[in-house]
């Protein structure tokens, strides 16, 4: 279910299954070949006991969710502040979600020139929180979506 914001905009949750193939594809796109992500033998001997997804991949899911909701407004006026709580592993189904906190400027939301703020998180199918924090999007004239 998509939570409605005080300003009337909605942010739909985004669900992605993490696989080792997707982790490798992200490593190639970002250039981050840290062995904890891509070397299964190395990762098995690490405290994680297996490969884990890049934290920045999970942030990309949050950013995609915000882009879907706010379009270019997010690209040029978004703010994100998160902590990484636990890793995502191959096979995990990650859900990025946003819960409205409040809107400034008399709850006008981005369309009215205010600022919308959300609690955001990524969690897995076992209900474990992987990433938690806040996201905000600043206003301007007119709402623009992806």
């Amino acid at each position: 279910m998509s939570p409605a914001t005080p300003g009337g905009s909605e942010v739909s949750a985004l669900v992605r299954r993490v696989t080792q193939e997707k982790i490798l594809r992200y490593a190639e796109a970002s250039g981050d070949f840290n062995p904890i992500h891509v070397d299964e033998e190395y990762a098995r001997r690490s405290p994680f006991e297996g490969t884990i997804a890049h934290g920045m991949l999970l942030l990309a899911y949050i950013s995609s969710m915000m882009t879907d909701a706010f379009g270019q407004r997010w690209l040029s006026g978004g703010r994100l502040k998160v902590r990484f709580k636990a890793p995502a592993r191959p096979g995990d189904v990650v859900t990025a979600s946003a819960r409205p906190l409040h809107a400034s400027a008399a709850d006008q939301g981005p369309a009215g020139g205010g600022r919308l703020e959300f609690a955001v998180e990524c969690s897995n199918e076992r209900g474990e929180t992987l990433v938690t924090g806040t996201a905000a999007v600043s206003g301007g004239e007119g709402s623009e979506t992806a």
């Binding site: 992605r16 997707k22 594809r25 992200y26 190639e28 796109a29 970002s30 250039g31 981050d32 070949f33 840290n34 690490s46 405290p47 934290g55 920045m56 991949l57 942030l59 990309a60 899911y61 950013s63 995609s64 882009t67 879907d68 379009g71 270019q72 997010w74 690209l75 040029s76 006026g77 978004g78 703010r79 994100l80 502040k81 998160v82 902590r83 990484f84 992806a146």
Partner: protein
């Protein structure tokens, strides 16, 4: 074989400024990034020339640019094996063009020690070369590294 960096993040004092560095975004790399993160938003393609609207984006997702900048930044460092990216703050002030050349600056904003670990906060700014000189993206990356862990260079 690439030269191993000898700048250990645990030894960088608060206020240390990294040499400025540059990162190039190319539309094809941006497209591969969008595929990798399964971001199908049309907003990145909206202003692309009609002839390439179905293949190459005009705008870059900010997280894609940040990922490349962090890679370039951390390539300058020797990171301990157990170094962990624990927190991230980002502020997007302007959208970045998919073909932009980025000028980047970074410094150690905070350094603290806690129970055998060094916690470093690195602040960075990303500006588009040839565009407005004010940063398009601001960021703060927190990395925690065990004091006694052996070093491992990035990538």
């Amino acid at each position: 074989m690439a030269e191993q960096p000898d700048l250990d993040i645990r030894h960088l004092a608060k206020g240390y400024e990294f040499p400025s560095f540059h990162v190039a975004l190319d539309p094809d790399g941006v497209r591969r990034y969008l595929e990798a993160v399964e971001d199908a938003s049309k907003v990145y393609y909206r202003d692309a020339p009609t002839s390439r609207q179905d293949c190459l984006p005009a705008l870059a997702p900010p997280l894609g640019a940040v990922a490349l900048v962090l890679k370039a930044l951390l390539d300058q460092l020797k990171l301990p094996e157990a170094a962990v990216h624990t927190a991230q703050e980002l502020e997007f002030r302007r959208a970045l063009a998919a073909g932009a050349h980025l000028a980047c600056r970074a410094r150690v904003a905070q350094r603290s020690e806690l129970r055998g670990a060094v916690i470093s906060v690195i602040e960075f700014e990303i500006a588009e070369e040839g565009g407005e000189s004010a940063p398009a993206v601001l960021g703060r990356t927190t990395i925690m590294a065990a004091q006694d862990s052996p070093g491992r260079s990035q990538s």
